[in-house]
Amino acid sequence: MFSFNAVAQTDTLGPPVSGEYRNITAEQFLLSIEKTTGYRIYFNKPDIDSIHIDLQANNEPLLKLLGRAFAGTGMRFAAGTNREVFLTKGSAINTTLADELFDDLFSKSKKPITASTVNNADSITEENKIAKASLENKLYEIGLRNKGPLTGKATIAGYLHDAKTGEPVIGASVMIEGSRTGVVSDQYGFYSITVPKGRNIINIQSMGIRDTRRQLMVYNDGRMNIDLQPQVISLKNVTVSSERTGLIRGMQMGVQKIDIKSIKQVPVAFGEADVLRVVMTMPGVKTVGEASTGLNVRGGSADQNLILFNDATIFNPSHFFGLFSAFNPEVVKDIQLYKSGIPAKYGGRLSSVLEVNSREGNKKNITGSAGIGLLTSRINIEGPLAKEKTSFIFGARTTYANWLLNLLPNEYKNSRAAFYDMNFNIAHQMGKKDNLYFTAYLSSDRFNLNNDTSYHYGNHNLSVKWKHEFNNKWYTVLSGGYDAYNYDISSERNPSNAYQLAFDINQYYLKLHVNYFASSKHMFEFGLNNQLYKLHPGDYTPLGNKSLIKPDRIPAEQALESALYFGDKFTVTPDFSIEGAIRYAAFNYLGPATVNLYQPGIPKTENNITGTANYNSGSFVKTYHGPEIRATARYVINQNLSLKAGFNTQRQFIHMLSNTAAIAPTDIWKLSDPNIKPQYGTQASFGIYRNFKSNTIETSVEFYYKSMSDYLDYKSGAVLVLNHHIETDVLSTKGKAYGVELLIRKTTGKLNGWFSYTFSRVLLQMNDSTQGVPVNKGNWYPANYDKPHDFTLVGNLRISHRFSISMNTTYSTGRPITLPIGRYFYAGAERTLYSDRNQYRIPDYFRTDFSMNIEGNHKVHQLLHNSFTIGVYNLTATKNPYSVYYTTENGVINGYKLSIFGSIIPYINYNVRF
C-alpha cells in the first residue's frame, strides 16, 4: 500500500505515463490516465469540478504526474497495492487496517504495510478478531479485493457497540451518505446493509452516542463491527438525535421510543423514575387515573397490551397497587411502544406491544449505581464475567413504605406493605456467530392488613435466547422461557371462615425467528411461535382446622397458542417502501376440561345450562384460528417530509377479567374457551411526518380507525372471582375507536421536550339480545377510558452542565362514569338508581410537575458520581378527581369526588454511580 505523503516507504511511484493533456477537466484527465495505466482512480466528483488540467507528460511516473497536476489545489492522494489511487480533498486517506476488516471467511490476504498519514491512530492488530472500526478518518476495506471493476453490490454486516461499556447499540441508524439507503440496528446491535461496491461513507446516529461516520472501500461482502463513542452525560443534549431522520425515513409508524435518560427527566410522584408513567405522556396512551398503571392504547383496554421485559411477558406491571411500575429504572435501557405497525413476530394482544429493554451490562469494567428515595431504594451492579465476551447486570429494588402506613389511624396501624423486584441478565458471546442471552425477573408485593388479611402477588420470568448468524444475510434467533404471575389472599381473623384464595397464570414459550437480508430491496423475516398456557383460575381453601370453608377450585385451564409468520420489507424505490407480513395464529383450548353447554340462541345463564361436556387430558376442546395482516407503506416526499399508512389485524385469545376501572390486584386472566370467543381487532392508520430546523424539530400527525369484536364487558353485578360459569357474567361487545395524534418534539438544544395532543374516542356496543339485556338499550356507549382530549407538555431546560430543570404538564378530559338518575327508599335508607352506563364524566384532569436535577462534578475519573433529584408532583395542588360516586351514609345519599393526590407531593432522590 502506498501513500503519496509517505514516499519513503514506496519502492515505486507507479507506471510511467506519457501524453498531452491540454485544457481539459480534471475528470477527463483522470479517466484518460485510468485508460492508459490500467490503474483505478477514486475521487469525489464535486471535489475536482473546478480544477482544470493543462500539462504534458513524458514517461513521468503516475504519482509524480498527479502531484504536479494537482499541486496547489488542496487535493491529496494515496495509492493502494492493487493498482489504485484514492484522491481526496484536504487530508490523505489512511489506508491501513484493511486486512483486519475482512471476515475470516473471506480474508486470506497478507498483512498490509502500514503507512503513516495525517490522523493515523492506533490500529487494531490483534489476530483473529473481527476488527472494530473506531476511527472516522480511516478508510476501511471490506471484502476480498478483486481485480475486476467494482460493479454490483455487496452486503456489510456487523455489530454496533458502545466503546465504553461494550454493550450493543440498538436502534442506531446506519445510512449511506449521498443516498437514501439506510438500516436500523436491531435489538442485538446487529446491522446488515447492502451498498454499491466501491467507495462509501456511512453515517451512524443513535441516541446517546456521538453522530459519526466511517469511510469504506467495499470490494465484496464483509463484516465490520463498529465501536461508537457515548455522549458524556449531561454535557451534550441527550435525547434522540438518531431518530431525527429516522422518523421521516423509518418504516415504522405508531411507534414511540424513549430512552431511560428521558424517562428519568420526567417528574413523577415520589421521584421514582417510572417507565409506564412516561409512556402515558405519549400521544394515544391514556390511563384511567393515578392509581393505575394500566395503559389504554388507542382505545384498547389495559389487557390488550403485551408488556415485554426482554421478551418476557409481564402480566402485572405494577407495584404497591399501581403506585409504581414494576421496572427498575437502573436496569432499563429504553422502551418502545408499538401502537400500530406491530411487528409480525409479536401477537396475541389487540392494542399494543410495549418492549421494555434492559441494558446488557458493561463488558469492560465492573460498575454500578445506587439510589435512595422516599419510598424505595435501588441498586445495580454490572460488569464482565469474561472479558469482552460475557457480561452480567443485576438490579434490585425494595421499599420501606411502612412509615407511610404508620401515619394511618390506629385502625390500620398494624398494616404492612412491602415489595421488591430483581433482574439478572447475562449476555454471552460464543464465538463470532453465536450469542446467548439469559434474563431472569422476579417481582413480589406483599400487603398485610392489620395482621388480618394478607395479600401477595408477583411475577416470575425466565428466558433464554440464542442468536446464530449463518452469514451476513441470514440469522436466526431461538428463544424459550417461562412467564408466570400469581396472587393469593388469605385471612385468619375469624377461625370459622379463615381462607386462602389463590390464582396463577403460567406461560411456557418457544420461538424461532429468522431474518434474511436478501438484497437491498428485500428483507425477509419469518418464524414460528408456540406458547403453552396453564392457568389456575381460582383455588379457595380453608386455613386451619376450625375453618368451615369448603374448598373450591375452578379447574385448571390450558391452551396452546401458535403462530407462523412471514414478512418482507420491500424497498420499491429509495422513496417508496412497503412492509408486509402475514401471521397465522391458532389457539387450541386443551383438555382436561368440563365445558358448560347452553341452549343456543338465548342468553347464557345458569338456568340455561343444558349439560356439560367432559374432555380428556390433551384433547383439543376448541380451536380458533385465522390470519392476521400487518402492513405498512412509506413514501418519502423529500428529506423532511414523508407519508405512511398502515393496516393491521390482531387476535387475542386471553382476557383479563376486571370490572373495576383500574387494574386491581385481584383481576384474573381467562383463556378463550368454547363459550368465550377470542377478541379480534382491525386498525387502519395514516401519518404525516415532517421535520423542521435541520431535523431538530420533529412533528407528526397520525390518524387511526379501529374496530374490535368480541371485546368483553360485564353484566350488571357480574361475579368474577371463583365463578364456575364465568360466561354467564360477561358480554361480548363490539368496539370502535378513532383518533388523531399530534406530536411535536424538540430533541436537541438547551431546551428540549415534547408536546402531544390526542383527540380520540372509544365506543362500545352490545345490542345482541341473545346474550342478555342490551347495554344502554343497544346504543353505542363510551368505554371507561374514553377521554377525548389529551394534552401533554414535557420540557427540560439545561441551565448548566450540572443543573437542569424539568416540567411536565398534562390535561385531559375526565373519564366517563355511571351516575345515578334518581333515588328511592329501600331497606331503611335512601338508595341511588343507576341506569345507562358511562353517560357522565368526572371533571377534567390537570396537573403540573416540576423537578430539578443536580449532578455532581463531571470529572470522569472519580470513584463516585453523585446526583440529586428534587421535585414536586402536582405543583398546583389540583384535586384531580379519580372518581365521583354516590353512597348511602346513615340513610342519606351523598355525592363525593375522590382524588388520589389531592395536594403537592414533594420528593427527593439521591443517586450514585460507581
Binding site: F321, G322, L404, L407, L408, P409, Y412, S415, D452, T453, I489, N494, L548, I549, N659, T660, A662, A664, P665, T666, S716, G717, V721, N784, T818, L819, P820, I821, G822, R823, Y824, F825, Y826, A827, A829, R831, T832, L833, Y834, D836, Y840, K879, P881, Y882, S883, V884, Y885, Y886, T887, T888, N890, V892, N894, G895, Y896, K897, L898, S899, I900, S903
Partner: protein
Amino acid sequence: MKKISAALFAIWVLAFACREKYVPTLNEPTTGYLVVEGFINSGSGPTVINLTRSTKISGAASIVKETKALVRVENKANTTSFPLTETSSGIYTNPQLSLNSSDQYRIYIKTTDGKEYVSDYSAVRRTPDIDSLSWRMENGGIQTYANTHDNQNKTKYYLFKYEETWEFTSRYPTQLKIYNDRQGVPNHVGYRDSSNPIYDPKLFRCWKTNIPTTIMTYTTEKLSQDAVSLYPLAYIEPASWKLGILYSIILKQYALSQEYFRFLDQMRKNTEQLGSIFDAQPSENIGNLRCLSNANERVIGFVEVSEEKQQRIFISNAQVPGWGYNNQCEDQVAIPNQPDSIKIANGLPTTVAFGGRSGLDVVYFAPALCVDCTLRGVNTKPSFWP
C-alpha cells in the same frame, strides 16, 4: 375481597388521597318509577308491602308514597288470591296469609293510573330458626353476632336485620319548670306540679331505638356446611350510653333465593360500597318485578315468599363490669329565681338550690339534654321491655 378494597381505600384516602363532597350537574329525567318493598310471609305474621316512587336525586329528600293501589297475592294457577289493604299511606297489609307450601305465589299491583305490575312467581320458602344471638367484649366494646344453620343445607342465602333499643335516664331529674309571663317570655321557675313537688318521671326515663340502614346479607355458598357462625351485627362502642342501664337487640332473619340475594348484594354495592379505587363500577340492578302495561317501564324491587324468624336478647350494665359510661353532663348552675336571670338562663331548671323566703329563691339549671330525656328518646316503655 370487600374488606381488602375497603382497607386499600382507607389507606389511599388517608395517606395521599382526598375525598370531598361533590355535586355534579345531572340531567335528570323525571323518573318516578314504582318501588316495591316487602315479602310474602309464609310464616305467622302479617305480609306488609310498601309502595313508593323514586324521586330526582337533586332537591330535598322525600319519600313519595304510592297510595290507593290495588295489591294482592296470587297463586300460580290464579285460583286463590289474598288482598292487601292500605293500613297507612303507601303501606299495604294482610294480617295472615295461609299459603300452600307446594304452590307458587306472586304479588299483583294495580296503581291508580291503571298500570299493572307483577312479580315473578316464587316458591314457598321457610327460614331456619336462629341458633343464637351472641355477644362478647371486643376492644373494650360489645360486638353482637348472629348464628344460625340449616341442617338440610338448603337455605344458603340469608338476610339479617336488627333493631337496637336501650334505656337511659337523665343526669338530673327535675321537679321544676319555667313559667312564662303573658308575653311568652320566661319569667320565673316553679314546681311542675305545685300540689306535689316530686321529680317528674316522664322526663327522667326514656328509650331509644336505632335501626341500621345497611343491607346485611350472607351466603354459606362457599362453606361446607350451611351454617352462619358469628355474623357481626351491632357493635357497641366502649362506654357508650347504649349500655348505661339496659340494652336490647332483636335479630330478624330471612331465607332468600339466590336471585334476591344478588339483587340486594348489588344494591349494597351500588349504594353503600362505592368510592374505593378497586370497586366494581355501579350498574343497573334489575329485580323480579315488571310492568304489564308498559314493558319498558322500570320497576324497582324484589318480592318473594319468605318467612321472618326473630330473636331478642337483653344486655344489662351489670353484665359488663367497669363499662364506664359517663353522661358528660356539666355541673348544675345556681340561678336566682328572678325574671331577669331566668330570661337569660341556659338549659332547664332541676331542683331548689336555696329555698329562702319564697322556698324557690335560687334554683339549679342544667343543660336541656341532661334534664329532658325525651329530647333523645321516647318516654313510653316499649311493650317488650322487662
